[in-house]
């Protein structure tokens, strides 16, 4: 349980992406229920705005959060690679200097 909570804490962006996706789908379904419950267009449009548009935004937020988590991981890996190669560069310079 502790490991799962720790994973949730570290992977907060992916957790938030899943939560936003679930909320988005829920809001879309609620909007659909509202629209299908009335035959009057004037009563349907507020449901379209609140359920449809906000649900769409939450789904877009889920996608953005998931992609940003991937970008963040790639950035971290590249940064670690840069640090590692910089260390290797120092090694090579040191060994070249000592050989002279």
């Amino acid at each position: 349980m502790g490991g799962f909570l720790s994973w949730l804490r570290v992977q907060w962006d992916r957790t938030a992406a899943v939560a936003a996706g679930v909320i988005g789908l829920l809001v879309l379904v609620l909007g659909w229920v509202g629209v299908s419950g009335t035959p009057h267009i004037a009563e349907q449009l507020p449901y379209f705005i609140s359920g449809g548009l906000i649900g769409l935004f939450f789904l877009a937020m889920a996608v953005a959060l998931w992609l940003s988590a991937d970008l963040r991981d790639e950035w971290r890996e590249l940064r670690a690679l840069r640090t590692m190669l910089a260390g290797t560069d120092t090694d090579q310079a040191t060994s070249t200097g000592s050989a002279r």
Partner: protein, 164 residues
Amino acid sequence: MSLSLLPDAVRREPRAAVFGDDAPWRTGELVRVGVVSTAGLIGVAVAWYGASAQADWPDTLPWASLGAAAVTVAMLGLVAWLMAALRRVRSLRREVMPWLEAAVSTPSSSATVRTAPDADFVTVGGMTRFHQPGCPLVTGKPVRPLTIEEARTSALEPCGVCGP
């Protein structure tokens, strides 16, 4: 660039739970995205409120248009968030790639292996890391053989490229 071939040491770098130094965004970008997305959501709320107050459907259409425009603005905030990260990742990739290509394209030769045929690992005087005998970073250098035990007990760190 595929990162699946990176050494385990790089992929295993711990992932911090917070932003700050561990993410490709700056505080200003975070604030900008928050402001734009919040403004968009407020616009959607206003559109919903306005549309709810109308009795005839033609009167609700302008409010629906406002809602569509507002949600577009909110999504642009999300796109700006992704673009900022993508820009930073590309910049870092441009910085790292020449080093990586130089390290990988060093011609490998069997001279190093012949120098230390029975060695588990090798190092070079002055280096702070130990390597696999065939590592391109020690190719052509006067290597000193190391056993597993010597490598483990020494103060040397494992090379991040060949991953001994």
